[in-house]
C-alpha cells in the first residue's frame, strides 16, 4: 500500500482517514464503518513496509503521511525533552559543586537521568500506539507521559530547592 492512498489533496486539506475515504456518502454523521471497511482496516498491511515495521505497526491502512510526520515530530520533541532531563542530571552532578549536599546532588542527578530514560522509552511506546490507532481509524489514546513528566519535574524542582535551602553554608 503506497502513501499515495492517503495523499495530500490539492487544496491543502487533509483527507478523511481510513474508513471515511472509501465511502463518498459518509459525511461524518455515521461513525460505524461498514463490514467491507472493517475488513479493509483489519487486513494485514501490504506494500513496501518491512517485516519488522509490519510487526510493530500491526494491521490497518497507512494514514495520511502528514499525520505520520506530525506523530514523528511529537516523538522527537519528547526525545529532546528526555535529552534535556539527561543534560540536567549531568549538569547538577557536574556543576552544582558545594552549593548542595553531596547526597542530594547525586540523588537528584540519578533521578533526572532515570526520568529522561523513562521519557525516552515512553515516547517510543507512545509513537507506536498513536501510529496503530491512526492505521485502524480509532480515536487517539490519552497521553500519560505528560502527567509523568509534570510530576517528575515538579518533584525534582522541589528537591533542588529544599537541597539549596538546607545546604551547609
Amino acid at each position: 500500500m503506497s502513501r499515495g492512498a492517503g495523499g495530500i489533496s490539492d487544496g491543502g486539506q487533509a483527507p478523511a482517514q481510513g474508513a471515511h475515504e472509501a465511502d463518498p456518502k459518509d459525511h461524518g454523521t455515521n461513525p460505524a464503518p461498514s463490514p467491507a471497511t472493517l475488513a479493509a482496516l483489519t487486513a494485514e498491511p501490504v506494500g513496501r513496509l518491512g517485516r519488522m515495521e509490519r510487526r510493530i505497526l500491526g494491521p490497518g491502512r497507512e494514514p495520511d503521511p502528514r499525520y505520520s510526520l506530525a506523530n514523528e515530530r511529537t516523538f522527537l520533541a519528547y526525545i529532546r525533552t528526555a535529552l534535556t532531563l539527561l543534560g540536567g542530571g549531568v549538569a547538577v552532578e557536574a556543576f552544582a559543586g558545594d552549593a548542595i549536599a553531596l547526597v542530594a546532588r547525586r540523588a537528584l542527578a540519578l533521578g533526572l537521568v532515570c526520568l529522561g530514560m523513562a521519557i525516552s522509552a515512553a515516547a517510543a511506546y507512545r509513537w507506536v500506539t498513536l501510529e496503530r490507532s491512526m492505521r485502524l481509524g480509532r480515536p487517539l489514546p490519552l497521553n500519560p507521559i505528560g502527567f509523568v513528566l509534570a510530576i517528575g519535574v515538579t518533584l525534582a524542582a522541589i528537591a533542588l530547592a529544599v537541597s539549596i535551602v538546607l545546604a551547609p553554608s
Binding site: 502528514r66 505520520s68 510526520l69 529532546r80 537521568v113 530514560m117 525516552s120
Partner: protein, 107 residues
C-alpha cells in the same frame, strides 16, 4: 500518469517534510549538547568519561544516519519511521545508562 498523481506530497503547503527534517536536526544538536556536558566530568571521573562521551558521539552519528534514511523514505513517499523511532529511543537510553553508571560509581 501526471506528475500530480505520482507524488503524495504535491500540494503540501504545510512544509511537513522540512519541519520533520529540521526536527531531526534539532534532536541531533541536543544529543551533541548533552555529550559536551560530559566533558565537565573529566576531572572527577578521568578516563571513564570517555564511555558516555563516545556513546554520545556514536548516538549523534547514528541519529544522522537515521535522519538521512528517513529523509529518503519521506521524499520517496513510502515507509514508516518505526525503525528510526526505536533506534533513536535505544540510543538515548544507552547514553543515559552510561551517565547513570558513572553517577552511581561516584557514590
Amino acid at each position: 500518469m501526471s506528475r500530480a498523481a505520482a507524488s503524495p506530497w504535491d500540494g503540501d503547503s504545510g512544509l511537513a517534510r522540512e519541519r520533520s527534517d529540521l526536527s531531526w536536526g534539532r534532536t541531533m544538536l541536543a544529543v551533541l549538547t548533552v555529550t559536551g556536558l560530559f566533558l565537565r566530568w573529566i576531572p572527577a571521573h578521568g578516563l571513564a568519561t570517555v564511555v558516555p562521551m563516545g556513546l554520545g558521539v556514536v548516538a549523534a552519528f547514528g541519529l544522522q544516519v537515521l535522519r538521512r534514511r528517513r529523509r529518503l523514505e519521506v521524499l520517496d513517499g513510502h515507509g514508516s519511521a518505526a525503525e528510526e523511532v526505536l533506534g533513536l529511543a535505544a540510543l538515548v537510553c544507552l547514553v543515559g545508562l552510561a551517565a547513570l553508571i558513572l553517577i552511581a560509581l561516584g557514590i
